[in-house]
Symmetry: C2
Subunit: 341 residues, 2 copies
Amino acid sequence: MRYKRKKRLSAQEYADGIISGDRIILSRAITIIESKLPADVILAEEILELILPHTGNTLRVGITGVPGVGKSTFIESFGKYITSKEMQLAVLTIDPSSQISGGSILGDKTRMEELSNDPLAYVRPSAAGSALGGVNHKTRETMLLCEAAGFDVILIETVGVGQSETTVKGIVDFFLLLMLAGAGDELQGIKRGIMEMADAIAITKCDGDNVHRGKLARASYQNALHLFPPAESGWAPKVMTCSSVQNEGLDEILENILKFEKDMKEKGFFQSNRQSQNLHWMHETIDNHLKRAFYTNGSVEGNLNHLENQVIQNKLPAIAGARKLLELFNQTRTENDKNMA
Amino acid sequence: MRYKRKKRLSAQEYADGIISGDRIILSRAITIIESKLPADVILAEEILELILPHTGNTLRVGITGVPGVGKSTFIESFGKYITSKEMQLAVLTIDPSSQISGGSILGDKTRMEELSNDPLAYVRPSAAGSALGGVNHKTRETMLLCEAAGFDVILIETVGVGQSETTVKGIVDFFLLLMLAGAGDELQGIKRGIMEMADAIAITKCDGDNVHRGKLARASYQNALHLFPPAESGWAPKVMTCSSVQNEGLDEILENILKFEKDMKEKGFFQSNRQSQNLHWMHETIDNHLKRAFYTNGSVEGNLNHLENQVIQNKLPAIAGARKLLELFNQTRTENDKNMA
């Protein structure tokens, strides 16, 4: 630990480097954010506190869609369109599959090769993390570092099949759902509730034989969205079509996102949304810590499986199972504290 | 406390009374479930453990919709239709507004007077509880007691504007969303994501001038639902119309719910869904206890407001605010434990 610590700069040096736009310092600071070493956790917070006044000027866009929808290709094309407008772009990816295969992170780098080589773009795949607050936690703080480094737009990519969408929706300003044109098959795998979260839907791969189907899908979804409950902000989500390989429709999508930013800032919703996101994040972080302390407790771990099975088989009421685990937890804690005293 | 304790029966006496269908014992047992006295908490668990083998034969239906959709009138009519089929019915209501006005519980009783006097029906409004796991927690255990008492169907009413829908969705087999026919105004107030949770939508007040509008709305929503991601179970939600005052459409709704039960049991989804709900409930209960212990801690309470404000104003990173509160919490706990040792 002491060896690793030596290689670190001071919080101020990291902050200065990030704010001046030094990408090497930025990358090293992100590594500290992702680190679990106690000293790094403190250092990460110090860096965050220093760069915080320099955050907030970036448009945060979440992009989701099931595997096969062409997310990476879309982000490559859309990203290059964004940088062609002289905007600086950061791309962060959350890929739950990387925890299983271990290969996806390399895959991302390869797939977004052009964008990675673009001087106006910065691509950072998420390292695989723990289920409780791991990946997602770090993504939000990584986003703040990128903001301080002066990026105009941050794209955060997720796979629309799990829990991470709700988390990403909770840290971005705009949530874009990518879909395929088709007869409903394309919906297989998308989690329910995600459509109602979207600030816009883009139908991908609208080229060649698919153009007509894309237009039909666009009309159907636009009709359906009218029947959805309106967003708190009053924003009416739009359905658009695009082709990443032919670079078509990307302009309309960017325009829509920028219009959202303008409208929401005029209404004051943009800032109020970020404030409640900040607050929510603090409570979510607390919640994750409390849960982690509980479920990594030896007594809890040792009895969890057995009690879970009893609850599943309806042999034990859920609240009785909960109470037993809570008692084991509190007992061990008290004993530990006594031993330490 | 000792005085109150004296009035209690033994867990076995409560369980026997409930299982024999004694409604007075049932009501008294529900009061124990709702009680916060430590002795009652243990007694409640003992009762639950005894009645657990007698639960599971009831169809659990959640009903939601915004104020003004006619929920109480619908439940009164639909409930009477259910009992007319010789089915025994329990109705549980969760009304967040009762925490504010204090008057809604009386209101429910008055509004469902006919059903309350029906010998095949049992209406139990929720007592107002604490925000963290209070009302909802008790509703689930109350539901289990009603199941053991032999009710065939349990309707659980919620208001479709808050967090309780997600909780109710997590304890019922079938989730029915009530909506009004109209030009989109009716959606004001419904929380986003709830439509995608629904197993069926019933458009209420389809009588008089409203019949035509109701039919149009039914067709629109049915089209829109086809574009939603399919449920994990493969069930395709149906949109129906009804009139509570004219008792129309209630048969179709009950048929749809019973078809769901039949189909899902054949697929094995019914049981597997309940098993994962049991498990989820145990973890949710643990989570609520951990949060309650945290946020009722004196040091945390004393510093929460100040730190929340700093986080909202972006003066402090959310994770730094979280860490400070967690440190205060752990410090007080350790000191308490030392003092007790």
